[in-house]
Amino acid sequence: MAQLRRPVEHGVPDPRPHLHPLLARNYGQWKWHDRLRPGVLHHVAASGEAVWTVRAGTQRQMDVGTIRALCDIADAHADGHLRFTTRNNVEFMVDAEAKVAPLIARLEAEGYPVGGTGNSVSMISHTQGWLHCDIPATDASGVVKSLMDVLHAEFVQEEMPNKVKITTSCCQINCGGQGDIAINVQHTKPPVINHDLVAKMCERPAVVARCPVAAIRPAVVNGKPSLEIDERKCVCCGGCFPPCPPMQINDPEHSKLAIWVGGKHSSTRSRPTLHKLVAAGLPNNPPRWPEVTEIVVKVLAAYKEGGRPWERLSEWVGRIGWPRFFELTEMPFTKYHVDNWRGARASLNASAQLYF
């Protein structure tokens, strides 16, 4: 009766058995670090012991063969330990500088780019997309693969003014998160309702409550209980789709991609910021999404050229101003860039300070 087995509620496991012995010995006792080259961190502890970390990019969605290959590398070079960063990079820790070069050579030979540290463009934080999500308007892994192929050079070197965090999201909920650059789906038409299915599949009051602009109300359509949308009020957020799939928001033509810039989570120098819309209406164009890549590359080039050391993308724009940003990146500024959501007045320029 294995079927009736009760789970053991382990919760969050103890990390100590998994720490590289050097990290375990010097836990909480690190003194300083520097970076010997892109992809290599060097940390020194109060004990005088040092650890070298080699960071490499992965595809995040990994087959067991890839994971075993990474384990083989860890066993051969890094005492059988490895870890992953919040941006899906893999890290190997070694206890001698002489072990760094062979490890890098092995990683590169097996196709894992070494980098992602310091002032680089790190791996893109992303979502599940068509591979696994139930509400995606686009893919995640494919967009990321396409972008990282183009940004590979910026991953393996540290030539940006500061670190660059890019994210992608397959719907407007934005599970990919805030980023210096965020590539997010932007729905452009209200949902098309399949009235035959609403009564069967949806808890109507919950759907009504989910709408951020109160544009949905109960209705009877063709004699069946359903929902209707005030299409003038609808902001096409897609929030009604997860609780009610008959509110079909995804559309091969009208689900577009938008690009946002200037999100930053650290409290370093400036306070954390949210990313801002800079481009919309980009076609959802698999398998390589070239129109998205073109704009991302353009934004990165302008930032790389003009950003001063340590300036994150939001801080760079904060200095040069949005007029200059749109000029440098040759992107149009439209009425849709002017916020009209709650708190929007705080984003208006209530001053006589202007950029010319």
């Binding site: 079927q3 789970p7 919760g11 969050v12 870890r83 960063t85 934080s125 139930d134 407007q172 599970c175």
Partner: protein, 425 residues
């Protein structure tokens, strides 16, 4: 006769290029004819190629779980199962990793063995929730797969739905000199206190904890967690002036001024004529910039603890919110300090459970009711560190102003006594 590999001309284009290809991995799993997952992954590739052709997703949710838990499995059923029957059920098991996702290879290898036996062979390290994502399991295999992971590996299912979620923890004390508390310990003490809410969700909506060791926030806590814990310090930045001089010698005065001194957000830094650093610690906001830029010379102070921000979340439904300060400083040294953090979390979750509307995040609840009622519910006193600036609108009733002033004075007096016990003698 084995199933044929599907034609995937669009996905094939994602095999080239210098970045590791997820498509190549999917194909390896599909081509492993001696493994049970080969047919499933062939149909998965077929369905994914269809999505690339039509620009539509074909998964729908449902109800799949394991005995004893109400969350942790993300059910996925194909809407075009008749065409791709072998991957018609492609559920995800969310597995809680060790904090900061350190692994002995032995654990990952055993996980791969189990997953190869029961699932698709596809694993995301890691999902945006912070979990190990075992992606692609049939309904029948979910329970035996979980049993193996739970019993043989000592790992547990993560959160999903309207409950406490799996956490994210920065690398912290394990390998970072900026760490201001034991992030992994805090993660385990706090999250493991709410396993009932992780496994049997019964909150108004999801609730996420994230733990960053310093204000650099490598765990993305401010944007992505309802309860964000940041390491910080209350005394002065530790300075090694000889090392400061080394940096000045290396970078030059201009480099030092442009890249360190002038970038201090509160103008708390000054370069002395002898190339040492003067810090106005009372004006320092603990932003980390000078410490980041001179790791050998500067370090956080010795009186360390945490700042707690509440209310961060992503876009759905009222727009993005960042967490805001609810507890400016809690000492985090003794076991009792960590227990106090857990107790604070319990009070926050209780208040959330009692007062949030259905499907309302705690940040949205605070937006609706205001920060002060939330603080009063928790018994936390208002503090100027909770605001960017005081109220600007004069439309406010101040009926018991004198009482509130008296409370503030009493708190200030108590603090002064606590900080300077000798002075009272």
């Amino acid at each position: 006769m084995s199933k044929e590999m599907p034609q995937t001309p669009l996905l094939d284009q994602l095999e080239s290029g210098p970045w590791p290809s997820f498509v190549a991995g999917l194909k390896r799993l599909a081509a492993a004819e001696d493994k049970q997952h080969a047919p499933m992954m062939k149909d998965l590739l077929g369905q994914l190629e269809r999505s690339y052709q039509t620009r539509r997703g074909y998964w729908k949710g449902g109800v799949v779980g394991v005995i004893g838990y109400g969350a942790g499995v993300i059910p996925r059923f194909s809407e075009i199962a008749e065409e791709f029957p072998a991957s018609s059920e492609f559920h995800t098991l969310r597995i809680i990793p060790p904090p900061a996702t350190h692994y002995k290879t032995d654990l990952l290898r055993r996980l791969c063995d189990i997953w190869e036996q029961y699932g698709s062979g596809l694993i995301a390290l890691h999902g945006q929730t912070g979990d190990i994502m075992l992606q692609g399991c049939s309904s029948d295999n979910v329970q035996p797969c979980f049993d193996a992971v739970n019993e043989e590996l000592g790992l547990d299912l993560g959160g999903a739905g309207a409950g406490v979620r799996t956490s994210v923890t920065c690398v912290g004390a394990a390998r970072c000199e900026h760490s201001c508390y034991d992030e992994a310990k805090a993660t385990r003490i706090v999250v493991n206190a709410f396993l009932d809410e992780v496994h049997r969700p019964s909150l108004p909506y999801k609730f996420k904890f994230k733990f960053s060791g310093c204000p650099n926030d490598c765990a993305n806590a401010v944007h992505r967690s309802d309860f964000a814990v940041f390491g910080t310090w209350r005394d002065d930045i530790q300075v090694d002036q000889d090392k400061v001089k080394d940096y000045v010698a290396e970078r030059g005065r201009k480099g030092m001024i442009d890249q360190v001194i002038s970038m201090c957000p509160t103008r708390a830094l000054s370069l002395n004529d002898d190339d040492t650093l003067e810090i106005d610690n009372k004006s320092c906001v603990r932003c980390m910039h000078c410490i980041n830029s001179m790791t050998k010379a500067l370090a956080p102070g010795r009186e360390r603890g945490v700042t707690v921000l509440v209310g961060g979340k992503r876009t759905l439904k009222i727009g993005d919110l960042m967490g805001s300060v609810v507890v400016p400083f809690m000492k985090m040294e003794t076991d009792e300090d960590y227990e106090a953090l857990k107790d604070l979390a319990a009070r926050v979750i209780d208040f959330f459970a009692e007062n949030a509307l259905e499907h309302e995040r705690i940040g949205e609840m605070i937006e609706r009711i205001g920060l002060v009622p939330f603080l009063e519910g928790l018994g936390i006193d208002p503090d100027p560190n909770m605001v960017i600036h005081p109220r600007t609108n004069s439309y406010v009733r101040t009926d018991d102003w004198d009482d509130e002033v008296a409370k503030w004075r009493a708190r200030q007096a108590a603090k002064a006594t606590a900080r300077a016990p000798q002075a009272a003698d």
